[in-house]
Assembly symmetry: C2
Homo-oligomer: 256 residues x 2
C-alpha cells in the first residue's frame, strides 16, 4: 500500500484540527467511534492517534478521552545580558524579572545543595582537578505554578572556602549568585559561552515536567560556562527546558 490506513486517518484528523473544526480543549470521538467512522480496527485508530500524540496535537487520558491540546504560550527565555550592563547576565535572577514583564507569575524552589567530586567533563568546564570538590545547586523553576525548567549550577568549592558561604546554603540567592560572587569575592563576570542541545528527558525529568511518556517531548539543554575577568571559569550551569513551552532568545549587537 502506498500510504497507510493509520496515516490517512491521522492526516484527516490533523486537517480537522488545523481547520478549526476541532478546537483546543474539545474531545475527539472515542476510539470506538473513530473505528466506525474510518472502518478500521481499534489498533489502527490508535496508531493514528499515536501520531497526533507525538506531534502534541492531542493528549489522551485513560478513562476520559482524547482531547485537542490546549494552546500554550511559550515562555521567552532571554539569554543575552541586560542592556548596557555588560556581560554580567545572571540567567537565574534575570528569569524572575523577565517573567514578570511577560505577565507571568514565576517562582523558584529553594536549591538542593550538594558537594560532589568533579567528573572528568566537569573538571574541564570549571578548570579544576578531576575529583576536586564542587558545589552543585539544583533548583526547580515554575511559571504560573507549572513546572518550567530545571537548573543545576556548579561552582569550585574554593569559592566557599574563600568566603562565599551562601553558596552552600540551601536558600535561594535572591539578588543572583553572579552579583553575590562579585560582592563577596570581587569576581566579575566577563562573559559566557552557551551550548544548546536537544535530547529526550530522563525519568526524573519526565516526572517533574509531567510529560506523558507516550509523547515525544524533548528537552532543550542549555549549558552555560561563565568566565571571570581573569579568564577563569566562574560557574557552569545546565538548564533544561521542555521544548514545547519555551523559546530561547539572543540579542547580539545593536537591536532596536
Amino acid at each position: 500500500m502506498a500510504t497507510f490506513k493509520w496515516r490517512t486517518i491521522a492526516d484527516d484528523l490533523i486537517k480537522k484540527i488545523e481547520a478549526g473544526e476541532l478546537t483546543p480543549g474539545t474531545q475527539l470521538p472515542t476510539e470506538l467511534e473513530l473505528q466506525d467512522e474510518y472502518h478500521a480496527s481499534r489498533n489502527t485508530v490508535r496508531d493514528a492517534l499515536k501520531w497526533l500524540i507525538q506531534r502534541q496535537l492531542v493528549v489522551t487520558h485513560a478513562g476520559r478521552g482524547t482531547f485537542v491540546t490546549r494552546d500554550i504560550t511559550p515562555y521567552k527565555v532571554e539569554l543575552s545580558p541586560p542592556r548596557g550592563v555588560g556581560p554580567g547576565g545572571d540567567e537565574g535572577s534575570a528569569y524572575v524579572a523577565a517573567a514578570k514583564i511577560q505577565g507571568r507569575r514565576p517562582s523558584v524552589s529553594d536549591p538542593r545543595v550538594e558537594i560532589r567530586k568533579a567528573s572528568a567533563s566537569m573538571a574541564e568546564w570549571l578548570h579544576v582537578e578531576e575529583g576536586a570538590r564542587v558545589v552543585s545547586r539544583h533548583q526547580q523553576r515554575f511559571i504560573d505554578d507549572e513546572p518550567w525548567s530545571l537548573q543545576t549550577s556548579f561552582y569550585p568549592m574554593d569559592f566557599v572556602t574563600r568566603g562565599a558561604d551562601r553558596l552552600v546554603d540551601a536558600v535561594d540567592v535572591e539578588e543572583g549568585v553572579v552579583k553575590y560572587l562579585e560582592q563577596e569575592l570581587g569576581l566579575v563576570q566577563a562573559g559566557y559561552q552557551d551550548q544548546i542541545t536537544v535530547r529526550p528527558p530522563d525519568r526524573d525529568e519526565s516526572l517533574f515536567f509531567d510529560l506523558p511518556e507516550t509523547a515525544a517531548v524533548t528537552l532543550i539543554e542549555l549549558s552555560r560556562t561563565a568566565y571571570a575577568t581573569s579568564g577563569e571559569p566562574l560557574r557552569f550551569t545546565v538548564t533544561v527546558y521542555p521544548a514545547d513551552r519555551n523559546m530561547l532568545n539572543y540579542k547580539i549587537g545593536e537591536v532596536p
Copy 2:
C-alpha cells in the same frame, strides 16, 4: 501491572546498549528471537523497540533487522559574530569556514530564489507593508554530503531595485550576503536577534533530512532578524537543523 512488559524489555535492551554489550552498528536479535528471549508476543517486543527507536538508540530496516544507532558527532553551529569583527556575523558564510575547521566537508546548494508577497508576520519582521514584495532565498546545506540544515532568508524587494541585483540571482553569494549588501548598498549589519524554538518536521523536511517517520526527531528552528545601523531590518532568516546532529553555540562577552 505496576510496570509494563514492553517497558521492562525496552529498559533491558537499553541497559545492554549502554553497557556496551551491544555496540553501535551491531544488529539486535530479530523480533522473533526477542519474542522467545522475553517470552512476549511479537507486538509487545515491537512496542519495546518503538521506545528505543523514539530515543534514537536503534534503527530498523525492513528485511534486514534492527541495529544500534551509529554515533554521530554533532556539528557545532557557532552563532556569535566572529571575534573582533563586530556584530556583522553572516551565519551563512560563516558556516562553510567553521565547518572546515571542525574537519568536516561542507557544501551548499544553489539557492531557490522566489519573489513573494509578505505575510503578516513577515511584514512585521522586515518592517515592510503586508503584501509588499520580498525576496526569499532558500538553500540546502550539507556536511560530508549529508543533509544538515535548511535555510531561507528574506529581504525587502527594495534592496534589489536599489542595486543589489545578485539577491535575485539563483547563485550562492560566496562572500556572504551581509558583506554584499554592505558593498552594494552601504548597509552595515549592527546586530541581530535570534529566536530558537523546537518543533516536529513537516513532510518536506522529513524527506530532505531523511528522518525516519517512526523516530521522534525534532528540528531546531533558528529565526534571526538582522538589523542595519539605521535600526531597520536587514534580513530575516529561518534556519532549521535536525536536533540530533547539531549543537548551537553562543559566546557573549569575553570568553577565553
